[in-house]
Symmetry: D2
Subunit: 342 residues, 4 copies
Amino acid sequence: MIKVGVVGGTGYTGVELLRLLAQHPDVELKAITSRGDAGVPVANMFPSLRRRVDLCFVDPQSADLGSCDVVFFATPNGIAMQQAAELVAAGVKVIDLAADFRISDIAEWEKWYGMKHACPELVAEAVYGLPEVNREAIKKARVIANPGCYPTAVQLGFLPLVEAGVIELDNLVADAKSGVSGAGRKAETHILFSESADNFQAYGVAGHRHLPEIRQGLSRFANAPVGLTFVPHLTPMIRGIHATLYGRIKKDVDLQALFEERFAGEAFVDVMPKGSHPSTRSVRSANMCRIAVHRPQGGDVVVVLSVIDNLVKGAAGQAVQNMNILFGLDETAGLGQIPLMP
Amino acid sequence: MIKVGVVGGTGYTGVELLRLLAQHPDVELKAITSRGDAGVPVANMFPSLRRRVDLCFVDPQSADLGSCDVVFFATPNGIAMQQAAELVAAGVKVIDLAADFRISDIAEWEKWYGMKHACPELVAEAVYGLPEVNREAIKKARVIANPGCYPTAVQLGFLPLVEAGVIELDNLVADAKSGVSGAGRKAETHILFSESADNFQAYGVAGHRHLPEIRQGLSRFANAPVGLTFVPHLTPMIRGIHATLYGRIKKDVDLQALFEERFAGEAFVDVMPKGSHPSTRSVRSANMCRIAVHRPQGGDVVVVLSVIDNLVKGAAGQAVQNMNILFGLDETAGLGQIPLMP
Amino acid sequence: MIKVGVVGGTGYTGVELLRLLAQHPDVELKAITSRGDAGVPVANMFPSLRRRVDLCFVDPQSADLGSCDVVFFATPNGIAMQQAAELVAAGVKVIDLAADFRISDIAEWEKWYGMKHACPELVAEAVYGLPEVNREAIKKARVIANPGCYPTAVQLGFLPLVEAGVIELDNLVADAKSGVSGAGRKAETHILFSESADNFQAYGVAGHRHLPEIRQGLSRFANAPVGLTFVPHLTPMIRGIHATLYGRIKKDVDLQALFEERFAGEAFVDVMPKGSHPSTRSVRSANMCRIAVHRPQGGDVVVVLSVIDNLVKGAAGQAVQNMNILFGLDETAGLGQIPLMP
Amino acid sequence: MIKVGVVGGTGYTGVELLRLLAQHPDVELKAITSRGDAGVPVANMFPSLRRRVDLCFVDPQSADLGSCDVVFFATPNGIAMQQAAELVAAGVKVIDLAADFRISDIAEWEKWYGMKHACPELVAEAVYGLPEVNREAIKKARVIANPGCYPTAVQLGFLPLVEAGVIELDNLVADAKSGVSGAGRKAETHILFSESADNFQAYGVAGHRHLPEIRQGLSRFANAPVGLTFVPHLTPMIRGIHATLYGRIKKDVDLQALFEERFAGEAFVDVMPKGSHPSTRSVRSANMCRIAVHRPQGGDVVVVLSVIDNLVKGAAGQAVQNMNILFGLDETAGLGQIPLMP
């Protein structure tokens, strides 16, 4: 059994990790930390976990994380970078669900995240945890930077096109829509039910933190710089991301075949039949990305539709997938949930 | 492996059965029938089942249901009563998720369901599949009448009070609220998104088909007739039932202890701590009934709050629970889903 | 033109008042106060008011409220009681949308609201602003206590039955469901979209502040004490209250006629045809209470269904109705909005 | 008073027209037709109209539409083209809220709408009712083709850019999101609450009927052909369209000033301050288009955010605006509703 610690278990990413880990056949949950709620039974805060998670939150200081095999950080940005080095030194694998280790360019990271990076040396060795791209590197990683939710949906959708040089790189558009849980479990007015329900709104058009992360990923696929416009929106649902991607075709290929071949054998990417419109609910609660590729009216524009559950393939599920790879388990262990419909 | 057939797999109860059965360790899905969609891959209609259910819908006539160990009917009312006798004669267990075998009084059934009953003799032997009440009888049943969604939430909530003679029986009130999936997957105007969202409404105040079912159950618990007012409401959520139950106390007992003792050892009934307000989302996607009991202001009225997922403990999950009991499996086999939160 | 001031314009009750007052033909908006947002244009906080409300929020101290004809308090409980006396002394009418003047029994008020009352003498003279009951008194009031949202729906629904002595008074049940806007525009976790959507939950079963207010009202209708169980619930919609009321009939009368006669001539109470199930959306955005009365199965229980928009007839609309009465205007002035459907 | 007839009053566009017309100071509602519901009081089908609309639906045959000053068609596509000529000949103005007169190229129309056009001659004279573009022509029209919902939001958003030659025309992208009421009040499975709620999905990527309408409009603005990719999506809200528009800048201008100048004096287009993200709820229930223009990261891509209420500025409200222009009324008459928030 893999001994697992979770730092920061009171947000949506944290409770989703607990849902998945509590059902994982090879995992023993050792500790869940929370600065503010130490001593509180986890199931008091999240009654959905009653009878399934018996632990109490513990103070980060007193949690014996050093005895874990792996520690997940489900914390705000800026926490993992302060604690990872010590754990790594103790031989503990670190999977960070926040952004601390995602951007290789430290200056770029500091610009977007508005703080000084505490641990640039680990950024250098950290592996970006997108298994469909970096599976081999993940196996040997000591620190895994779990991708952001938007970046997962957008990168997987563009991946075959960019790798194969099928589209112009200077003018990509990613129009992405997220359920409200993507904004986290913070007491903020704009994500109140009465504000978010029966409403639709863009945000961060001037620049969103996931832009440099996506741009970095696409540039690596292309081995070249890319020009990307990324517009995120808030849509009145709890879970789900739908990325609608636009690119201009420069090389005439069978797009459907390109996608099917690129993702053949991937357990968690499902290329839909030609003409499909994947729905976010077709992946709700499951670690799955469903993708459809279109060429409207036979023109020179390709439209890719890519959907994930932001809390699963976009966060906790992908983190567990990375853990499975890291420890040589079946990559699908503990991730067999069938999407909830309706 | 238990060989399972499902009659009527295109409604919400049907697809939920498939979700649960496809994850069940002891089940082999043999056939899923649909009159209108024969030949269609199940996963085409329900993309959530892609890669998990490979079957196509088959015509009821050509499905070899006689070779199954058990057949679930996830059909409209009035279908199972026409086909069950033949299956039972062939040694196949029948679990009906509709209402055909729920009401012992045939005349009463015919009045509420507006048709002649085709198989009164099986009604006589059918076991009402509420495991917390009828577990022993379920083990030996040939036909199980799976309870309705409202009746499950209401009966479990009243059960300890009525069995123990704690409340007056002449004036019970069950005010129940259901998510829209309870109305089924039928193309009807009143359950359109634009009609049901941002709206709340009672229905069937003059009389709902679940009234006689609940009244029959409570009368059996009490060994006496009961007077019940039952008002169902439609609430703008997909899944979940919340029953708020009111009774007048005639015997002063420790209500919390009464509930905890009655349901001690039950895997799928969770008595919440004193003062709790269970939420429907705390059971969403899981086979669980959470119950809290209150005595407001120390008066003589008891208020019980009882929540289930209408498609799981209120339908498909309870059906699988009944199957597990029927075949001597662990009662929780295949029912380990942790509620989805958020 | 009536010169109007609004104290506390940043909550949902406040912005709804502004929506109604900005369309009112006889009103001149003079000042809108906000302690925290002084100087901010109202339309910056609420873009829905762009081009319609040109004022900025002003600090309560510097607002010249004494020159208004009437001041609405759309503040948290405990504010109006500190400022009303001075305004009244200056000849300004006060309409408090909070609870400060609703409960005549000061000790009872202090128990439920957890603070010492700052102005008991004004409580004594304040008129409870339920026009269908107190219209004559409202005309001459100096201070109007605008009823709570639940109390409006529940009192109007029980009114004909209690006044006419039709039901037993010792065991009334009010099972009420509210949209989330009833909880206000506060940054609190439990009313986040991701917490409230696709969820249904009771709260305050042990005792809610609207209980004493409703009990006081019903007791006055009856000239006798009443026994009431009141259970509020949160339902995943923005606006609307649905109260389902239960009483035991002791006098056999034509219930439909009783309701129609009691509310004949009322502009803002609509008794629906026999057998109706009023929906909250049938009153959304409008100052209207729709009521249906049922006697299920011809038994001895009466069920009343009463719906309002909690922010209109349950708050701002009723406040404007009270203002109209107070100043001798047509009671419907500025309240002609047709409910928004769908 | 203008005598008004409405053909097809049972859909969402129809009931919204009734809401607006019943509040219009210069309108007398003469007849509302419905083939299937003749004889039924309008307020029975739509309780929101109780006490406000006293008419019954009448059979189209027996309605004396020839005596009206103007007739609105709120019918499915293909109806108005059969009845308009006779009305026009009788001197009745026709405003068609469906698509029959929107596309000048008859062959194109017939391709997209899958039927033979019954009245090409009226197409030739019909005026496309986008007042911000065609106000003068509308004044003298006999037949007005009221724009589609998506086309209204998309054309108004692109208008200043295309007219002024600011962007490349060969590769425009319109990523549009609609509330579910845009799909109409039809009993279809995919718009059931349980299908549409907590879900997000694109549709019609291969080609949507609003594509040729938008392309025609943009081409007229530009006096040149345009290349447009249009992807509509269904978002789980009742009302609202959010269009996110992408274009490549070829001429460096002050975008904010360009938009403010183009729409100066327009009552129903509101250019938001720089950096804004208009929300659909900021226009809900009102005849308003709010627009923000962005140039992310100072690059060469312009992003326009354009929101409307699909049933108001996208349908019934714009139709009333056209009627006002047509009859020389104040363009804002009857359209003073303030958006509903929250």
